[in-house]
């Protein structure tokens, strides 16, 4: 009896420990919503992207998410904002009144209604890079590529801000620091967590 009890107790404490550890290790930093047509789609650049010579940043930013999951990418540039009757994601360069804001992602339904990505899925999205703040804070090319372009495209692939210890303020999807890197192991884990291997 006593032995059985011991086994019983140790089994459940092990189970509790396992749940605790796995919840910290496998913390989910993705949106509930996602792009309705999946993660292989076309992107379109507004003339503001070319006028400000940001196409290089966006090219690298979107290509950085290729070859991680077989379900994600390639995100292909097309000069038409609609391909085969489907809306492409739209990239812009603009300016903002909000100090220190470098860019944002706006997920929308086909009729242009914005949705909350934390709650629901979308048909297409727009990404703005805010050049006035990027210039004001003197971001390097590597930081624009990583913290603005790659980061915002990451949002369009359903990745949310990563506050976890596996990221440690040092992955592309951190909100707490500027980075100069391509997606690292933790970014890739979250992408696969959302879309599959």
């Amino acid at each position: 009896m006593k032995k059985k009890q011991k086994i019983f107790i140790s089994f459940f404490s092990l189970l509790a420990l396992f749940i605790l550890i796995s919840s910290t290790i496998f913390a989910d930093y993705t949106f509930l919503g996602k792009r309705n047509s999946g993660a292989k789609f076309y992107v379109w650049y507004d003339t503001s992207v070319f006028n400000n010579s940001y196409e290089g940043y966006f090219n690298t930013g979107k290509n950085n998410w290729n070859n991680i999951s077989s379900k994600v990418g390639p995100l292909t540039y097309n000069q038409n904002s609609e391909v085969n009757g489907k809306k492409s994601d739209r990239y812009y360069v603009g300016s903002t009144t909000n100090s220190g804001v470098l860019g944002y992602f706006n997920p929308m339904l086909n009729n242009g209604t914005s949705v909350n990505p934390f709650e629901s899925s979308w048909d297409y999205g727009s990404i703005y890079a805010y050049k006035n703040q990027i210039d004001l804070y003197g971001l390097t090319s590597a930081q624009i590529t990583s913290s603005v372009a790659t980061h915002e495209v990451g949002h369009s692939l359903s990745l949310s801000h990563n506050f976890g210890s596996a990221c440690n303020n040092n992955c592309v999807m951190t909100a707490n620091a500027l980075t100069s890197i391509a997606p690292n192991t933790e970014d890739k884990t979250q992408l696969k967590n959302k879309w599959g291997n």
Binding site: R90, Y92, S99, L102, N116, P117, S126, N132, L136
Partner: protein, 206 residues
């Protein structure tokens, strides 16, 4: 007989009218009190991890309270030529109790008597026929009737705006922890509490 049926009819009709009126009033009240839907856009921004970094980077640090309810403030949206949402913010009038940091020259038109006007990264827009609150990265507006310490920075365009999202304004009375975990992440709330403690310690306790 005839009169009996007549009065019965009258009762029934009045009862139906009364019920319809009640339903109508009920929906009217409900419509009026309907809370606006909140859409939280993910954003990338310059972030500060501590009170000292925030204090160093802010051009203005001010203690005070909003002059108006959020819904009454000036909500702005900027549309690109193709209609896409290029920028948005709210102009907030804030009653100054005390400046904790102030540059020698403050932008004109931002201070009027005891009020400073600055921007918050949140707005109310017409989202295809439905009014909605849109915010950057879960930012929550300064609440009317509450006292705050707010960290502001010159945006390079003649305005001051709140920096560091929710970790750029701190409610003096309460830790807005539960409201701020809009992403459901404990780490972000802990971060807010931590910086708030540092801010209160430096600017309030001594």
């Amino acid at each position: 007989m005839k009169t009996q049926i007549g009065s019965k009819m009258k009762y029934t009709v009045s009862a139906i009218v009364l019920i319809l009126a009640c339903i109508f009033i009920f929906f009217l009240i409900k419509l009026n009190n309907q809370e606006l839907k909140v859409i939280n856009f993910p954003a990338s921004y310059i972030s500060y991890d501590s009170e000292s970094d925030l204090s160093k980077s802010a051009d203005i640090i001010v203690l005070g309270t909003p002059a108006e309810e959020f819904q009454s403030r000036k909500h702005q949206e900027v549309r690109h030529e193709d209609g896409s949402l290029a920028d948005f913010y709210t102009l907030t009038d804030f009653k100054i109790e005390k400046f904790l940091k102030k540059p020698e020259i403050v932008h004109p038109n931002t201070i009027n008597d005891d009020t400073i006007t600055f921007t918050e990264p949140i707005s109310i827009i017409d989202n295809n026929g439905e009014r909605a609150i849109i915010s950057l990265d879960g930012y929550q507006e300064l609440e009317y009737g509450e006292n705050y310490i707010v960290f502001l920075k010159d945006n390079g365009m003649g305005n001051y705006s709140v920096i560091n999202m929710n970790e750029g304004k701190f409610n003096l009375q309460k830790d807005e922890i539960s409201q701020l975990s809009s992403h459901g992440d404990k780490e972000a709330s802990d971060r807010h509490s931590q910086i708030r403690r540092e801010v209160l310690k430096r600017y309030i306790n001594n």
